[in-house]
Structure formats: C-alpha cells, structure tokens
Amino acid sequence: MAEGMTWSVLDGDKLTQAEIYGQVLTQLGATNPRLVAMTADLAKSTKIGAFGDKYPDRFINMGIAENSLFGVAAGLAMAGWKPVVSTFAVFAALRSAEQVRTDICYQNLDVKIIATHAGISFGQAGSTHHCTEDIAVMRSFANMTVIVPADGIETGNAVVAAMDHPGPVYIRIGRGFEPPVNTTKDYGFQIGKAVTMKDGKDVTLITCGVCVGQAMRAAKVLETQGLSVRVINMHTIKPIDRDIIIKAVVETRRIITVEEHNTMGGLGSAVGEVIVESGKACAFRKLGVPDAFAIVGYPEDLYNHYKFDADGIIEAVGALMKKEIEEDENWDDET
C-alpha cells in the first residue's frame, strides 16, 4: 500500500459496506487530488455522495445516463484523473458492459468501479434490479480485476488497495448491512490473495461477499457435529488465488463454493476452472442462484430459499460428505 493510503472509520463493524466505502473514499480524497467520483443519479443510494459533499468540485453526477457514465469516466482517466464510479451492479455490469469493456478495459484505464446492490441484495426490487451475472461478465474482460469484499471492513481495504492497483478494478458490494466477519482491518488484505478464515481438513468452503459470513456460521455448527471445515474468503475473483484452491483440493478433497451469483460463470466457475486444470479430482459443488431469475423477497429469505445461507451450506456439506472420494495419497503421479 502506498504511503498515505490508509483509512479509519469509527464503528466500522456497524456500518454497511456502502457507508464505509463512502467514508473511506472521502478520506482518500484528501491525499489524492486527482481522485474524481462519479455516479448516475445514485449518489445517495450508493453512498458515493459522501465524497461529493466534501469535494463538490471533484464529483460528477451524470443524471440517469449509465452508458455515458463510463464513457465520460474513460475520458477523465485519459485526461489525467482517477475516476471512481459507483452505480448499481446491474447497470455497471450489464447496461454499460460495453463501455466498461471497450472504453475502459481495452485501453487499460485507471478507473475504479464500485458496484452496489449486487446479487440479490435488493431482493424486493425484482430481477430488473438483481444482478447475479456481474462476476461472470466482469471477470471475462481482459485487464479487469474483480473484488467481492466480505464485509464493510474488507470493503474499506478493497477500496484502498484498488486505488494503488493500476488499471480497471470492479468492486462488488451489496445493499444493506451484513454482520461483519472481520474484527480488524489489519489482516493483510492483498488483491489476489485469499484469506483462510478458518482452517479445517474435512471439507473446504470457498466463498466471497456476504456468503463468507454464512459459511462461517455453517462451519461453527458443523464443528459441533465433528466436522473440520476450512473456510476461504476468496475476495478477489480475478486474479484468482490458484495456490490456495489447489492446496484445499489436496488437503480436504471436498470443495463447496458459495456465492450470491448465478452458479454459472461466477466464483464457482472460476474455482472449478482451477480445479479441472490442476488435474486433481475432488468432490465439488457450487451453491448460489441456480441459473434462474431470482424470486422477489428479502435477501435473507432468498439466501435461504436458494439454499446458500448457513442452513443450506450445512445441508450441502452433509450431502457432499456422503460422496465417496477415491483414496489416493500419491498426488505426484497426477498432472
């Protein structure tokens, strides 16, 4: 992290991801005179408005014009600014996908995107406002880095790290408050390096975003049932931490991915790609929204409905533990 790139937020464990990034961005504004914040009529909803209140001259509200939001961001970056753009994930990743890909990623511009209301975190709003496709879309763009922070504290860390990370970065957060999984910001957050939240030897849960908390709760219950569960917070989907995945395959032989995203194309697919390429077999299951437009409802109800909350994870672990794994201690003979 560059000198001066630090942040502190009072009551960080009581704020939403969006509230924290709004505050952190505002703090970074003091030491980064070229930081400019942008949105498209979602200053209050996304919390990027906090930056605008402090630095009105470095804040651009485009009105409801998401395509140009990212085109103008590209132009600002080429003029020497460091734009941070915030809107709902569904608009950033789908409506403006081409501007993000062609104007920003193709030219490898230093534009940071903070996409809020991702997944089904705005469950009541229906599928026009859900976004269970953005990880798949964004990780397929060359030059793009994709980060899905687990809680408010990690969101603060991700924003700071993104500022110091050249090129486009997509940070995906939710809408409301999720119980924090981190108690301190000083756990060595690094883009591309997953965090082992809890070690274990029987099964590994690889997860990101709000699902990290669900996985931790599931793991605690499973421990009482005599299972040793490893929980990995894969906060960076791209570039993915291949080593930690392969280590989990070798050491636990059972992997479940958990994400608030379509089970096609997101974290589960990214982890699956690494496993298949490693040539090492394991029992594998992906939890998330199962290739459907999600029903309407409160997020916690939907996580339960699609069985990727703690209860759903416990059920999936139980099923996966029943699956027989061929004993093979000699991994060296495999490629």
Partner: protein
C-alpha cells in the same frame, strides 16, 4: 484568423495526398472503410494542418489537443492523416489489417501514436470526449478536445446522453463534428430512420450548432475558429459531406461504406482524385 489562400492550397495538397493514401491502404489491406474515410478527410486535414496543437514527434505531450474519432471505422482515413503528419513511418501502413499489425480497421490508442482513444463501437466517442473536456476544465488546462462523429452513429442514444452532459458542463473547450454524408451501411440515413433536422436536435440539447460544407476549407476553418471563440457551451459543426468524395464511382454510393479495390479500380480512383484536384487546385 481566416485561412489564407496559401494555407488552403497546402490543405488541398495534403487532402489530395491523404485521399491517395486512403486508396492505397484500401488496396493493400484487401478492403477498408473507404467511403467514410474519404468523406471525413477535409475535416481532419483542417484540424491537423492548421488548428490542433500537436507534436507528432511527441504524440503524448500533455497540453496537446485531443482527437476522438468517434466514427472509429474511419480509422483507415485517420491513419492516413497520422502517417502523413509523421506520427509514424508511413511505410508501416502497408501492414494495415495484417496479422499482428498495430493497424486494424479501428485504431487502438495503445498501439497507434496519435490515436487518443480506441473507438469503433459507435456512440462511444462523444462521451469520452466530454470526459476529456471536463477533465481539462477541472485541471484548468487549456487544451481542446475534438470529436468527429458519423451521422449514422447519431442514432445511438449514448450520443445524446453525452450531448446533455456536455451542455450541462458548459464545455466550450469541446468541438464536435458530424460527418453528414447521409449514408449508413444499409442505405440513405433518411430512408432508414430520421436524423434530420440534426441542427435542431443539437440546438435543443444546448449546443452551438454550425453547419458547413465539409469539403470547403474556408467554411471549415471559419467554423472551427468560431467554435473556439464561443463561451459556455460546446459546439457541433455539422459538415455536409459526400461519402466516397473525389472518387466518382464511389461518391454517394452506400455500398462503398466498406469495400476492396483491385489494381484497375485503384488506378481509376487515383485518376479521379487527380482530376478533382486539377479543378480545385492542390
């Protein structure tokens, strides 16, 4: 200051050389967007040979004026201008479209010196230009942004998003052009949709609108200078142009949006260009 007769003569000469270069690249590349490259040529020549603050030997100099060719398929014609200006060795244009070449049909800002933005997907350029112009104003820098659009791309909603925000930010450091050749891939613009009256459309969006013959350097120069003097709003110069300008068998033929040339057609095109400039001088 109005262009002198001498300046206009030089521009005609450059436009002639560049049009021949466009024909030549189309021939060697095995095809290209020749119609629109020929219609935009005089706009680019006026800017690159008289008005833009640029240094081809230092293509990234900080205070340079920026060019966004929003009609990115005019990349072939833009490359011909950049080559003629000395941004790179013109001989490199022999590789246009070839595997691994820095030059594809739509220029890549990371590969082509003088190309300030990668374009090609229509309707993107004006927003990028607006971002640059806002950026320059906020940095209190005096360089200008020029954006050349096609008329067909004005069907794209994103053009009008950018037009709204450009007027809101009072971008008097931005001059846009519409290469109004009245043809798109599938035919005449007004047979397919309704782009007239473009002047009224931009005026309604808060832009200063100037309308000129896009092949008349005196008119182009006058409009560009007028745009520089206008305060508190961006200007669009709608340029009436002829697709395929100077090559009689291409002029106003929508089928020449994209095409290839054999050596006979190339030679005929050269002759057309020579004949045209024998008449107008240059």
């Amino acid at each position: 200051m109005p262009l002198t007769a001498e300046e206009i003569k030089t521009m005609q000469q450059k436009a002639k050389d560049i049009r021949k270069s466009i024909v030549d690249i189309t021939f060697t590349a095995g095809g290209g967007h020749i119609g629109g490259s020929l219609s935009q040529t005089d706009i680019l020549v006026a800017l690159y040979y008289r008005y833009m603050n640029i240094d081809p030997k230092n293509p990234r100099k900080e205070d340079r004026d920026r060019m966004i060719l929003s009609k990115g398929h005019g990349g072939l014609g833009w490359a011909a201008v950049l080559g003629e200006k000395g941004y790179f060795d013109k001989a490199l244009l022999k590789n246009f479209n070839k595997t691994g070449s820095p030059f594809g049909m739509h220029l890549d800002s990371l590969k082509v010196p003088g190309c300030d933005a990668s374009t090609g997907s229509l309707g993107h350029g004006l927003a990028i230009a607006v971002g640059m112009a806002i950026g320059a104003k906020k940095l209190k820098q005096s360089w200008r942004t020029y954006c050349v659009m096609g008329d067909g791309e004005c069907c794209e909603g994103s053009v009008w998003e950018a037009a709204i925000i450009g007027a809101f930010h009072k971008l008097d450091n931005l001059t846009a052009f519409v290469d109004r050749n009245r043809l798109m891939i599938d035919g005449p613009t007004e047979d397919i949709t309704q782009l007239d009256s473009m002047d009224d459309k931009f005026k309604a969006f808060g832009w200063e609108v100037l309308h000129v013959d896009g092949h008349d350097f005196t008119a182009l120069g006058g409009a560009i200078e007028k745009a520089m003097a206008i305060k508190d709003k961006p200007t669009v110069i709608i340029c009436d142009t002829v697709k395929g300008k100077c090559v009689d068998f291409m002029e106003n033929e929508y089928k020449w949006h994209y095409g290839g040339l054999d050596s006979d057609m190339r030679d005929k095109a050269y002759t057309c260009i020579d004949t045209y400039y024998d008449k107008v001088g240059g």
